[in-house]
Amino acid sequence: MTSARADDHLLDELQTVTLTVNGSRRSVAVPPHRTLLDGLREEVGLPGTKSCCAEGECGACTVLLDGRAVNSCLVLCVEAEGHEVTTIEGLSQDGLTDLQEEFLNAGAVQCGFCIPGQVVAAEYLLRTNPSPSEDEIREGMSGNLCRCAGYQRIVRAVQATAARRSGGDD
């Protein structure tokens, strides 16, 4: 082949990656440059995680990796080998969670495109800080953009969920 190019390698050399997604072991054959985001969407078949900026700024692709919120566009599939991933589909396996219900009650969901990432980020925030202050919510969620700008609604949803989880009646 005289037409060999520097990036031809991108088109082959599939690697098998085994990871746990939403509690199930999954093996996918992906090229080494495939992001976890694209792997989840295209190979695992879970399109609930959204793609927007592809450079870790918008948070639409947020998933839990071993329980920590990450931008899945900044993680390679091969880096997730042996790790546990939880996506929005995983959080919703048994129907809407209290957090998701509060998103709806607060009017936080408009176009909805950023919402899966928001929900995962908020879930992580509440797991690490069960009763966050408003400032802590704003700080903790600041990596997730919403162009419909439902920010104040989302803050309310997180506060309401924290109250529910602490057993407080509102």
Binding site: K50, C53, E57, L104, Q110, G112, Y151, V155
Partner: protein, 774 residues
């Protein structure tokens, strides 16, 4: 253009029963919200098209160049590449499309007119192959001295962005002015003679991009009939259908547009962009072709027009406006899109909702070698409001009045004209109430802490000036109902409203009303989802369809039961018979009998334009908003902390208060975007320097005001169902003016260029410290 006015949109239904209105008026939760929250909602990029070909665009890294040649040899050699398509592979002459001028080519022909304009498209079996091949396509080009700024475009001998042959017979074709608008009333010179104070200033409003979190994209599927199914998250599926049919020479029925819910539109997803290219690729390859744009490519396909405005404004000693004169140059892009209308409609209200005896507004749509600008929430109004509202505050400062008082003295009363002359417009709301409510909610009269300032401003935007929405409502034999309405639900929550209206009108439980949209093959025509029109237009069509259903139920009930029709009557949710009242679903069941079946009601809302009106017709309603902001300025860094932000909209009737609040908060924060941080920056080659989320900042959680308060004024005086008006844009119309006035009060420094970045505020404070300020 010569169509006679038929009927305007009449108020449909001023609430005769001001008590509980059933589901309408309640904060009903969003239709489809569950799927949006669980990740089950399928946006365009989530749809599965097994075996689809993937498309990648080829561009060049400059904003203006002659294309000398395209060498795809290396690209074609990459395994999996099916085709590399350039202008030479498309029909000649190149098909062009556009809503105001048919000027936009499917692919660049001989010349690239803006950074990111596609020169070629690669079609491959995999996305990896398509993208690798796109990088391998070699484009030889000669860079030209493009017109990237207003000054460059308006200079003598400027590079002409548009080939003059695109608009033959237009004397301005040899300039970069695509269209202009002139609105004059009264006698400015005579008014100036009785003027006590004149303020004259220049204002700029930046180019900003929509930044929907869902990037753009299109999938085109060839059908065995020789037609196409096209999937695109568009606001105007029926316009896309017509555009594709026209470009491809197909009848409308051969182009079926599926419009998955847009993941944010804001105007950017109204008009066709890459869809014609995907259509040609699909017909050429006879395969499904898929392209999902990157966020960077999305930036390069939509933006708001920047604007430079020179304003002279006169006041009496009492603070009454005497005249307002403004020259506004809108920096549109390399192709017209709908930008000339943004210029014309925006500048129509450049004198605002005020009583001004003498006005002269001159506006131009100036083409530059930049991303084609298009509709963007507010549609030209935020630009002109920035200048006008700042001028009011400049006058107020000179006269020793405050921002609230000067507006009180000039704001028109309901029924009073604020645009005069041949195309008069009168206030359709009690706008003073919004102003007063905003001031009250902010605490306008409260003592002010150091380094803080307050500003208040108002904004106005004409709603749709013509329109047509058609709807079908099917009442099924078990009493459940399906609504067919072509409004794109991009976050505003249109379907929730249809659900509420149908539930009330037919008596069907809310959760038994479903809505079908986003398919030109099954859903009746809707002109477009824009200008906050859908509540008024489609809402009225849905309401009329419900009433049609009720009449049909009555008629069949009479036929089935033998009760004479003149002894029956119907009203909301109910059939009244000689034996008593029946719920409408129950009456429907009885009428349908053992054969079952269903009732199909049709509704149409049409507003014809006026041929002699500069906007093509009177606005169906006006969006009016008052915004009041308190800000704290850090004089050491120039950073702004919004301690309180109040926005009050004149909504007619809140059909769903939760959705009104969501839209108002969202618009307010989007307004803070262009007021505080957003701007597209170009380099000397016309390239966007801050291309992407890393460098182009939009408001985040941390930018939300400490207190963000929305209020609504309800007088049930809109032309939509139950006295409603459209509401989705109001809260960003005058954000900039309110913030600018607040910063001026806090710092003593007036800034006339947006956005008010920390750097700009800091620099202005420093300059003022050296003795130069107003």
């Amino acid at each position: 253009m010569t169509e006679a006015p038929e009927r305007t949109v009449e108020p449909f239904d001023l609430p005769e029963d001001p008590g509980p209105r059933g589901q309408v008026g309640r904060p009903v939760l969003r239709y489809g919200g569950g799927d949006r929250t669980s990740g089950a909602q399928r946006f365009l990029a989530d749809l599965s098209f097994p075996g689809a070909l993937q498309v990648a665009l080829v561009t060049i890294p400059v904003g203006c160049a002659d294309i000398l040649g395209v060498d795809a040899t290396a690209a074609r050699a990459i395994p999996g590449v099916v085709d590399v398509v350039t202008a030479a592979d498309l029909p000649s002459p190149m098909p062009r499309f556009g809503v105001s001028h048919q000027d936009r080519p499917v692919l660049a022909v001989e010349r690239v007119n803006y950074h990111g304009e596609p020169v070629a498209a690669v079609v491959a079996e995999t996305l990896d192959a398509a993208q690798a091949a796109a990088r391998a396509v070699r484009v030889d080009y000669r860079e030209l001295p493009g017109a990237y700024t207003l000054d460059a475009a308006l200079a003598p001998g400027a590079h002409l962005v548009q080939d003059p042959s695109i608009r033959p017979g237009d004397p301005a074709a040899a300039t970069n002015v695509l269209e202009d608008a002139l609105y004059i009333w009264g006698d400015v010179a005579a008014e100036e003679a009785r003027t006590a104070v004149v303020v004259e200033n220049v204002y700029t409003f930046p180019m900003v991009t929509h930044f929907p979190i869902e990037p753009g994209g299109t999938v085109a599927v060839p059908t065995d009939q020789g037609g196409l199914d096209v999937y695109s998250p568009v606001q105007h599926p029926y316009l896309l259908q017509r555009t594709l049919a026209s470009v491809l020479g197909l009848p409308l029925n051969q182009v079926r547009v599926f419009a998955p819910d847009p993941g944010g539109g804001f105007g950017g997803k109204q008009n066709p962009k890459i869809e014609p290219l995907l259509a040609f690729l699909a017909l050429r390859t006879r395969r499904t072709c898929r392209l999902v744009l990157s966020l960077e490519e999305t930036f390069q396909s939509m933006r708001r027009a920047g604007c430079r405005m020179t304003a002279r404004t006169g006041f009496t000693q009492n603070g009454e406006l005497t005249f307002h004169q403004v020259d506004a140059d809108f920096q549109i892009g390399a192709y017209a899109d709908v930008a000339p209308r943004v210029m014309g409609k925006g500048s129509y209200v450049a004198a605002g909702p005020y009583r001004i005896p003498g006005v002269r507004i001159a506006a131009r749509a100036v083409m530059t070698n930049t991303t084609p600008s298009t509709a963007f929430r507010g549609f030209g109004s935020p630009q002109v409001a920035w200048a006008l509202e700042s001028q009011l505050d400049a006058g107020a400062r000179r006269l020793g009045l405050d921002g609230l008082e000067i507006r009180r003295r000039n704001l028109v009363a309901k029924g009073e004209a604020f645009v005069r002359g041949a195309s008069e417009a009168t206030a359709d709301g009690e706008w003073h109430q919004s102003l007063e409510k905003a001031a009250e909610l902010l605490g306008w009269d409260q003592p002010l802490a150091p380094n803080r300032g307050r500003g208040i401003a108002v904004g106005i935007k004409p709603g749709a000036t013509s329109g047509l929405s058609q709807s079908l409502v099917r009442l099924l034999c078990d009493g459940s109902a399906i609504v067919y309405a072509g409004t794109s639900d991009m976050g505003q929550g249109a379907r929730t409203l249809w659900q509420q209206i149908v539930s009330d009108e037919l008596g069907t439980p809310l959760d038994q009303v479903s809505v079908v949209s986003g398919d030109t093959g099954t859903v009746p025509f809707d002109l477009q989802t824009s200008a906050s029109r859908s509540t008024v237009f489609m809402g009225s069509a849905v309401l009329e369809a419900c009433r049609d259903v009720r009449q049909r139920v009555l008629d069949l009930y009479a036929e089935s039961t033998g009760v004479p029709a003149d002894q029956l009557s119907e009203r909301r949710g109910t059939l009244v018979t000689p034996e008593g009242e029946l719920s409408l679903p129950e009456a429907a069941r009885k009428a349908l009998g053992s054969l079952r079946g269903e009732f199909i009601g049709q509704g149409t809302r049409r507003l014809r334009g006026k041929g002699n009106h500069p906007l093509g017709g009177d606005a169906a309603f006006y969006e009016f908003n008052a915004t009041a902001i308190e800000v704290e300025v850090d004089r050491e860094t120039g950073e702004l902390l919004l301690t309180k932000h109040v926005t009050v909209s004149d909504v007619g009737t809140e059909l769903n208060p939760l959705q009104v609040v969501s839209q108002d908060e969202g618009a307010a924060i989007m307004g803070l975007g262009h007021s505080q941080m957003e701007q597209l920056l170009l380099d000397e080659h016309g390239r966007i320097r801050n291309l992407g989320a890393l460098d182009y900042r939009i408001p985040t959680f941390k930018d939300v005001p400490v207190e963000l308060i929305t209020g609504a004024v309800e007088n049930h005086d809109g032309p939509g169902p139950y006295g409603s008006k459209g509401i989705s844009e109001g809260a960003l119309l005058c954000t900039a003016g309110a913030l600018g006035a607040a910063v001026a009060q806090a710092t003593g420094v007036v800034i006339r260029d947006l956005p008010l970045t920390p750097e700009r505020v800091w620099a202005a404070i420093q300059t003022a410290g050296t003795g130069r300020h107003e």
